[in-house]
């Protein structure tokens, strides 16, 4: 199956600085309707990657393909199949939303009459139906975000690239935006690339995620599989002698890594409940200072990928000699 995005040792230089330093990956599958999350700290190269995929930057080495088309050599074919929602303000001044979307639709190849129909249709879809005859310049930030989303999907693209779509949105608008992204993939079969700093947004809608740091791909994860694994993460802080705690956890099928100072990161496998942790803490005569319990794993993955934590407890990537019997690093 053709991947939605295929990168082969992609390198991009802006001026003398190399922004992307050889990224290789295959993401999504054409027509499968999946959402790919693009994560990374500021300056990681996320926007550069998006702009290179759109043909705005020329790769200094390697290849980038979207839906099987070369992003540079077959830029026209790529752009005909892609909808882009930029991060910053982007609209045509002095135009009503209907006319703006009509122009965008016609530029994407919709016949004039169809473009007008679709403009109305998509504006109602994103919740701007009542404001569609207002000039976009008079819209609030949240409304502009929705208008940007509308112009990205008016022509029914196969791939929609969203750059920070929930920026500046209030909680209800944010929920609406994420719902629209979910509908795009589930009901309309579009593939979506979502670039966001908000891990919760990515976690809520993405099936795959790649994490960039310093222009390199540091992690690629399949969130669907992570969700299926149904692991639960516990952050625990205890006082007392916790040297036997790691072995005790392993005895119950759980994995734990001590970060020192009584702080533990624990992964509970499916079927093992949080009560087990309480029982083990009581058995080891430890005092619990803090316990946080969550089901999601993206934050864990992200922090590990960008180097804020050493490793995820369940991971066996580190050599055994680096981990003591009691789980300490």
């Amino acid at each position: 199956m053709t991947p939605v995005i295929e990168l082969q040792d992609l390198r991009v230089k802006l001026g003398r600085r190399e922004i992307l330093e050889g990224i290789s990956c295959r993401l999504g599958a054409a027509g499968a309707g999946k959402t790919i999350g693009l994560l990374g700290p500021n300056g990681a190269g996320k926007s550069t990657l998006i702009l290179t995929l759109l043909g705005f930057h020329k790769a200094s080495g390697g290849k980038a393909r979207i839906l099987g088309f070369d992003c540079h050599k077959q830029s026209r074919e790529v752009k005909a199949r892609v909808g882009f929602m930029p991060e910053n303000d982007a609209f045509i001044a002095g135009m009503t939303a209907v006319r703006f979307l009509r122009v965008m639709g016609e530029l994407s190849g919709l016949p004039s009459r169809v473009a007008l129909e679709k403009a109305h249709e998509v504006l109602f879809h994103v919740g701007l139906g009542e404001a569609r005859y207002r000039a976009i310049g008079t819209y609030s930030l949240g409304m502009k975000q929705m208008a940007k989303l509308a112009q990205a999907i008016i022509h029914g693209p196969e791939l929609v690239i969203l750059d920070e779509p929930t920026n500046g949105l209030d909680p209800s608008a944010r929920a609406r935006m994420l719902q629209l992204v979910r509908e795009m993939k589930e009901e309309h079969g579009m593939s979506v690339v979502l670039c966001s700093h908000l891990l919760r947004d990515v976690e809520a809608v993405c099936d795959e995620v790649i994490i960039l740091k310093g222009g390199r791909l540091v992690h690629q994860a399949n969130l669907e599989e992570e969700r299926r694994a149904n692991r639960r993460f516990v952050e625990l802080e205890v006082s007392g002698d916790d040297r036997g705690f790691g072995a005790a956890l392993r005895g119950h099928g759980a994995e734990g890594v001590s970060e020192g100072g009584g702080r533990w990161r624990i992964v509970l496998p499916p079927g093992v409940e949080i009560d087990v942790v309480w029982q083990l803490v009581a058995r080891e005569s430890l005092e619990v200072r803090r316990l946080t319990h969550r089901r999601d794993s993206l934050e864990e993955i992200f922090l590990k990928a960008v180097g804020h934590i050493e490793r995820t407890p369940h991971e066996n990537a580190l050599p055994a000699e680096q981990v003591t019997n009691d789980g300490r690093l």
């Binding site: 802006l14 600085r17 045509i92 190849g109 016949p111 249709e121 109602f124 879809h125 112009q151 079969g189």
Partner: protein, 286 residues
């Protein structure tokens, strides 16, 4: 079914061709320009001089009306290259004013509001975007330049007969290509100004400034250095000299048409350079 009940569906039909997409930008831009009152007023005002010239041609072709005039007056009323050069000089001012009012509204707002990333994420290249914007100005400025000029030429040909047309056809060609050259220069100035300053009002002032300030600076240089070549840097005067050469009229004092053409070409190249630098979907800070 009412549109609000319909819900969103992906478009699966046939897409329009490349040229249909290309003409979307000029089509909507013309519509927006004609919604501006000032542009319409200028377009109407630009018809007065051609109407006056048409009356002049009518009078000059009716000998019975000239019977009472002396020879000097008869020579004044002759329709020749001098007549068309004067006509072109007057209309060129309207072209500057129109481009100053209409030109900046084509590009500056797109840059100020980040619309370029929306255009260029569609199957439209930077060159096509510039050509589409150029076409908008070309269409509008044609209405006040070569269209009335060529109409006047054909009016004169119809009234004066085949022999006049056969011996003066180069006037019609000169008017057409001379004005096209002027439109190209004026449009590039308008587009480069709006791409450079991004603020519509300032861009409009910059367009006027390029023509009027350069004219003043050129004459000042001539006066201070006691030379004539600086006139070539006055776009209006340089173009006037080129038109004289194209229409076969007596040249005006100053640098010759070839030198003026070279200077105008360099100006156009600089303006294209500015457009190339400024019209990008994203700004890269090195």
């Amino acid at each position: 079914m009412a549109v609000y009940k319909r819900g969103y569906t992906r478009y699966q039909g046939a897409l329009t061709g490349h040229w249909a997409r290309f003409f979307v930008l000029p089509r909507f831009a013309w519509r927006r320009l004609l919604e501006q009152r000032l542009v319409v007023i200028l377009l109407v005002a630009a018809t007065f001089w051609p109407l006056l010239c048409a009356g002049f041609i009518y009078v000059s072709n009716h000998a019975d009306l000239l019977l009472g005039f002396d020879q000097k007056m008869s020579a004044f009323l002759r329709i020749d290259s001098r007549f068309f050069v004067i006509f072109m000089n007057a209309q060129s001012v309207f072209a500057i004013l129109l481009s100053a009012f209409a030109g900046p509204s084509l590009i500056a707002p797109d840059l100020a509001n980040g619309a370029l990333s929306l255009y260029f994420s569609r199957p439209i290249s930077r060159v096509e975007y510039v050509l589409a914007r150029l076409l908008v100005l070309l269409g509008m400025l044609s209405l006040v330049t070569w269209v009335p000029g060529v109409l006047l030429f054909f009016m004169q040909s119809a009234m004066a007969g085949w022999s006049w047309f056969a011996s003066n056809w180069q006037l019609g060609v000169g008017v057409f290509f001379g004005f096209l050259l002027w439109i190209l220069l004026v449009s590039l100035v308008a587009m480069a100004s709006s791409a450079y300053v991004r603020w519509r009002i300032v861009a409009g002032a910059l367009v006027l400034g390029v023509f009027f300030v350069l004219a003043g600076a050129a004459e000042l240089t001539n006066a201070v250095l006691r030379v004539e070549w600086a006139s070539a840097f006055n776009p209006g005067r340089a173009m006037n000299q080129i038109w004289c050469a194209m229409l076969g009229a007596d040249p005006i004092p100053g640098p010759n048409a070839t030198f003026c053409f070279i200077v105008v070409s360099i100006m156009a190249a600089l303006l294209l350079f500015v457009l190339n630098r400024k019209l990008r979907p994203v700004e890269v800070v090195s």
